[in-house]
């Protein structure tokens, strides 16, 4: 038992003495948390907008003004013909083009209907869909206004019925994407650091020969493994703490649930990650190999974790696969506890699955660590 203490002492000394690594372990992730959380947003803003107005009527000018006034669109230029405009779109200077034909106003008044043409750069399909939605909204609003004005001159037909939809956004009334992303990114950073460090650690001792030296001592492999991994568990929890403080201070991320619950869950989650790191280092010979394999799994797990894209949108086979993804559970728990105030019973399914995962992985890892070859 005391032996574990000696190993832990040595590990901590080595970690903190490594002046080059310290900023990478502590400063880099937190810096990324601060900066990158601001980058993550699916909102589409500052849409590069241009128009061709062949009508130049009061109506067309009014419609263009509506786009100008909108906070989503950035009116960049107006063009004389379509060729000019598509040239600009090719260059990437314009994303949305509004083309108002010559008899726009006249047709509207005389024939009670008129056409418009919208061209959208759809390379980013998702963004294009969103932009199309915004455009529709503006045009519908304009249409309604015009109709009311024009209708007041004619006899009213029977009034159409109107169904009003009232949206209500729970847990995130401002639809702030950061509220969603900050906890997720924090999860990512804690996972990456813990996995990479633990994965490389034992391999490094293999490479420099001290592992063999230790294998000749009477130390039990359980003692050795616990001593080696415990410091990284501490670092993981430490990063979580600092990250949470930053999230609260700088992003004002809500913390509706119990922090204790979050720590409780994380302490088990880290066991999964450390087990993975240990398993990887048992099967690799060089640090490079260990890093590569760890990287491979991390990227796949991150992409399939529900952090950047929702799991519900994945095909059934992929959703099945995410059951094996520990990061998915962590992301879910963090969001449920912090943003919805979930309690112990609410996260029980994730907790149980994580515990099972930790158990299996660590048993495998310890079994595969051979003091004797």
């Amino acid at each position: 038992m005391k032996v574990i203490g000696y190993i832990i002492q040595k590990e901590f000394k080595q970690i903190f003495r490594n002046k080059g690594m310290l900023p990478i372990i502590f400063v880099l992730p937190l810096l990324q948390l601060l900066i990158l959380s601001n980058a993550a947003t699916y909102e589409v803003k500052n849409i590069l907008f241009a128009y061709i107005d062949e009508d130049r009527s009061a109506s067309s000018r009014e419609l263009i003004e509506k786009f100008n006034a909108s906070e989503y669109f950035d009116v960049k230029a107006s063009y004389v013909n379509y060729k000019q405009a598509s040239e600009a779109m090719l260059k990437g200077e314009v994303s949305v083009l509004l083309h108002i034909p010559q008899d726009f106003e006249r047709n509207l008044v005389r024939y009670k209907k008129t056409d418009l043409s919208i061209t959208i750069d759809a390379i980013d399909g998702a963004a294009a869909g969103v932009e199309s939605g915004y455009i529709n909204q503006i045009i519908q609003g304009f249409n309604k206004k015009i109709r009311l004005e024009l209708l007041s001159f004619s006899n009213g037909n029977s009034k159409p019925v109107r169904i009003e939809t009232i949206p209500s956004f729970w847990y995130n009334t401002t639809l702030d994407y950061k509220t969603f992303m900050v906890p997720g990114i924090l999860v990512l950073l804690v996972t990456m650091i813990t996995l990479f460090l633990s994965g490389m650690n034992i391999v490094r001792e293999k490479e420099i020969g001290t592992l063999e030296q230790i294998n000749v001592t009477p130390i039990r492999k359980g003692e050795f493994i616990i001593g080696k991994l415990f410091p990284f568990w501490v670092i993981g929890m430490g990063l979580l703490t600092i990250g949470l403080i930053l999230a609260k201070l700088i992003f004002n991320t809500p913390m509706l649930g119990s922090i204790g619950l979050l720590y409780f869950y994380t302490s088990f989650y880290l066991l999964v990650i450390l087990g993975m790191g240990l398993l990887i280092s048992n099967y690799t010979d060089t640090q490079q190999q260990a890093m590569f394999i760890a990287w491979f799994f991390v990227v796949i797990f991150i992409l399939m974790s529900g952090l950047f894209t929702p799991i519900e949108s994945m095909p059934k086979w992929a959703q099945w696969f995410t059951e094996l993804n520990p990061i998915k559970y962590f992301v879910e728990v963090v969001r449920m506890v912090m943003l919805k105030g979930a309690g112990f019973t609410d996260i029980l399914p994730q907790l149980i699955k994580t515990l099972a995962y930790a158990f299996v992985l660590n048993v495998l890892a310890v079994w595969s660590y051979k003091k004797v070859s």
């Binding site: 203490g5 000696y6 040595k10 000394k13 080595q14 001290t210 009477p218 004797v372 070859s373």
Partner: protein, 244 residues
């Protein structure tokens, strides 16, 4: 006083697939002996030693080290032996004192014992001024002496040294062998592998491995008489030529 055998090997074998690295070696080492385990690079010395120190499972044969079976009692063996690897495996980013403390702790010594030994060691080796320097910054000779001392920290019955003098100058080598003599005088058995044939002269008895088999086993004096040569180097050359 009857001399007991602290290492007994009978037909010890290690095979890797179709390749036999250690081919049924049989020998004994007496308590307090300095036993030289010689052979060219690749002859199988290190593989054989790994079986004796309990980090490699033999494919065949038997061996007892410090009274324990190498097949089934590997942990007990490790409690009673010391080991110095070829790479002088000390932690470059820990200080001299910290390395001693660490290995002392790993061997299960009490805090008091560690403190005493550490002080004694630093004094004996004359490391007083550099006790708090990182091992990485030490010259090779100091590392070597430190590694040996660390291997002896828990007063083991037998100490295994794997090519302990690689890369050091002759004076340091001499000093190192003086440390070995002192330990042997105090009753520790020394099992040392080397490919420096002149170091064989320093041993009580030597064995010479060629291609996995022990082809010679006796005192250096008797071997030189047997092959009618004047140096262990020549013994080895003769042996190698005979095999061909």
């Amino acid at each position: 006083m009857k001399e007991e055998n602290v290492i007994i090997s009978k037909g010890l074998t290690k095979r890797f697939g179709g390749f036999t690295a250690v081919d049924a070696i049989t020998f004994e080492v007496k308590k307090g002996e300095i036993f030289g385990f010689l052979g060219a690079n690749g002859a199988g010395k290190t593989t054989a030693m790994k079986m004796l120190i309990g980090i490699s499972n033999p494919t065949g044969g038997e061996a007892m080290v410090a009274g324990f079976d190498v097949h089934t009692q590997q942990d007990a063996i490790k409690k009673n032996i010391g080991y110095m690897s070829q790479k002088f495996a000390l932690y470059d980013d820990l200080t001299v004192a910290e390395n001693i403390t660490f290995y002392g702790g790993i061997y299960g010594l009490s805090r008091k014992q560690i403190r005493e030994k550490r002080t004694k060691l630093i004094e004996t080796l004359g490391l007083g001024e550099i006790a708090h320097q990182l091992v990485g910054s030490l010259p090779l000779g100091w590392k070597q002496k430190l590694a040996f001392s660390v291997a002896m920290l828990h007063d083991p019955q037998i100490v295994f040294l794997d090519e302990p003098t690689g890369g050091v100058d002759p004076i340091t080598r001499r000093q190192f062998w003086e440390m070995i003599y002192k330990a042997a005088d105090e009753g520790t058995t020394i099992f040392v592998t080397t490919h420096y044939m002149d170091e064989a002269e320093y041993c009580h008895r030597v064995s010479i491995m060629v291609a996995g088999k022990i082809e010679a086993l006796d005192t250096p004096k008797k071997l030189k008489e047997q092959f009618e040569v004047s140096s262990m180097n020549d013994v080895f050359l003769r042996l190698a030529r005979n095999i061909e």
